[in-house]
């Protein structure tokens, strides 16, 4: 039984893919971004866009995956769905943090302030806080904490369309969703490269995190079984 737990934690293929993604993202990505044409109005600070938007996309994707797993847990009692939701929410918090840091850096240069209560910014902050709340509910919510957290995940998913469409529905300072489709040809390749690298990295991190969580769950089961066996033999 113990060897089974150990076997689940030898993800060499995942490590290899992750290493390649990091290598490409860390070295080739910045080169592509550096060679992308400068945006006329904002200049070099616009290049934050190439990292900020993929992080925002992953915040939204993580929330949807978290909600999907939570639905499976709430209505079918799926433990795997619950684990998927937990791991995905954790990645949502990670990439959400990146959005919350890179966005204000861009805003400081573009708008002159780090933060303004624009609808897009506020809705994104709420989404990120809901994912943090999801983790806190699981950790400190007691016996019903997992179900409470799963319900919170559904609310968080309902915020995603609001985050996405807010820039079109209520015109604020934040650029609209049309900014990607209107990118200059020289900007498209670095942007989609960064998007692909970040998405791949998210997939690798989610797989690794799921494996750790599954091993942890099996270890708890085994610990209980060993304690039972020890109790019977004494």
């Amino acid at each position: 039984m113990l060897s089974k737990v150990s076997k689940t934690r030898k993800p060499q293929a995942i490590f290899a893919v992750g290493f390649l993604l990091v290598l490409h993202g860390f070295f080739i990505g910045p080169l592509l971004v550096a060679h992308a044409p400068l945006e006329k109005t904002m200049g070099i600070v616009q290049k934050i866009f190439y990292f900020h938007v993929p992080c925002a996309w992953l915040l939204m994707l993580s929330t949807f995956v978290c909600a999907g797993g939570s639905l499976a847990y709430l209505f079918r009692g799926s433990e795997r769905g619950d684990r998927l939701a937990q791991c995905s929410a954790e990645l949502g918090v990670l990439f959400g943090l990146c959005v919350m840091v890179t966005g204000p850096l861009w805003a400081r240069a573009a708008w002159g302030v780090y933060w303004t209560w624009d609808v897009r910014l506020t809705a994104s902050l709420l989404l990120w806080l809901m994912l943090i709340g999801y983790g806190l509910a699981r950790r400190y919510g007691g016996a019903g904490g997992r179900r409470l957290a799963a319900a919170m995940a559904l609310f968080a998913a309902a915020d995603v369309p609001l985050v996405y469409l807010s820039v079109n529905l209520w015109r604020g300072l934040h650029p609209t969703t049309k900014v990607v489709s209107s990118l200059a040809p020289g900007m498209r390749m670095p942007f989609f490269f960064a998007l692909a690298i970040f998405s791949g990295l998210w997939g690798v991190l989610l797989t690794l995190r799921m494996r750790v969580e599954s091993a942890q769950a099996r270890l708890v089961e085994l610990s209980i079984a060993v304690e039972d066996a020890e109790g019977r033999s004494s």
Partner: protein
Amino acid sequence: MTYVALAYGFIWGAVFTYVALLGRRVAKIDAEIADLRQRVKP
């Protein structure tokens, strides 16, 4: 340029920190497995 470098550095710093934390969790599970092995040894 400073803002771009800060943004880029922060993202990779956050990702590497997260991977390091995952590594710590794996090490903890390994230690618990070793402990269980000791206990089930005949």
